[in-house]
């Protein structure tokens, strides 16, 4: 069971992160400690031959991790990304991209997640992989 519903998160994103919509970053699903986000392909944001740039993939991974966090903790607007590392494994070309985040730990101060990124039509072939830690706000998270 998720502590924040998809509807609540969509409302929060629309109010706080309106550029997500402009960039084609969407919620796919949210659950307790997992989150899935989608980049809707739009050639305006790509290089010739439809190659999707790394900054977009990192923004997508960040969104997926917020979904996983909100699904576990409820909406915590003060959680901030401490660091993210992404390894780019294969080119992301010409289609929607999915990022699936999973929390590996939620501590009192730090949450840690991994994110798998793959083309929507080829889930078994990773195009990128990220790990990321978040700093949680003070007020009493489990």
């Amino acid at each position: 069971m998720s502590r924040a519903t998809r509807g609540e998160i969509e409302e929060f994103f629309a109010a706080e992160l309106p550029f997500l919509e402009s960039f084609g970053l969407r919620i796919e699903s949210v659950d307790d400690g997992t989150g899935v986000a989608r980049f809707v392909y739009d050639e305006r944001w790509t290089r010739p031959y439809g190659v999707i740039n790394g900054g977009t993939l990192m923004a997508l991974a960040d969104v997926a991790t917020y979904l996983a966090l909100f699904g576990r903790l409820g909406i915590v607007p003060l959680a901030v990304t401490n660091e993210m590392k992404m390894n780019f494994l294969r080119p992301a070309i010409g289609g929607d991209v999915i990022a699936a985040a999973e929390l590996l730990k939620v501590g009192r101060r730090i949450a840690y997640a991994t994110v798998d990124l793959f083309m929507a039509d080829d889930p078994d072939r990773l195009i990128a992989h990220a790990t990321t830690s978040y700093v949680l706000p003070d007020e009493g998270i489990g």
Copy 2:
């Protein structure tokens, strides 16, 4: 002395990476092994209160690193980002952001750079710091 001039790189970016312009990512300067890029503030791409999102900062750091690489090696379109880690140190709010990249090593296969990010009007206060490695193409780089 730089192996690729600012004009050559601008031409390459316009042809190959047209979204850089849409995102407000610009060349500041390029030299042998160093590159400086600017994010021109536009509130369309920010959160309430003008907070600039992490994906934009990572895209900006990537551009700065390409400038540093092209300044050293000439334009190498096949160089690809292997991985980037960014630590977010302070919020980036309400103004242009500068990313200054410096190559610490260029080997036969791998180049490695660090990137300092700061607000254009406050160069002494880091807002983020990145490290990144690139895989170079086969054909004979020094």
Copy 3:
């Protein structure tokens, strides 16, 4: 099926990496693209209260990744670690530690792996997590 057997790797480690034995780093298992290594607890290498230091955990993760690589490619002595990031999730205290590496990609030039680290007697509780990329030698790896 593994391309290098446990016996072959033990021989290679004894000849090339004799300090592994001194540090209590052992092979648990090796298969095609996966490798498991063990740190045999010895209080000489720990802090008071039996806390195992981070350097030891990183060395252990490196060994596990070599096992996974050798299990996929055969023994490739020229493969070198390009970078490793480790996130420390919980203290590692007073017992053997297991590192389980899995290759997520083996390309022509770069291999990428993730490593789960946990106490031998509590496999469900991660103490650390690493990601790492390796540069492969030139001579024709599939």
Copy 4:
């Protein structure tokens, strides 16, 4: 000016981290926000041809960062490494290694540092570079 002297830190290390001595990890210098540590070369801990293993370099970088932290904050035994990424740039062969850490930020919860590693007899040639974030204890650090 440093908040903890070299002597105080040596005492703390001897009591809390006795294995540093066994591994040949020594304090070179400590100041406000910077720390320098040395690995004293000993072929027992190396591979054939005197190559120093990555785990040792990561342990050395960790020590240097603690020096920088203690030099800024005084001895804070509860500071813990959240994550470290190290990029290995050139082989470290046959001699002492120096790690020089510099704090780029000390916040209320997170400190962030970069670490340059080089052979003691060739300070201009980086062999490795690390970035690392630490979680600080609750009790009121500036």
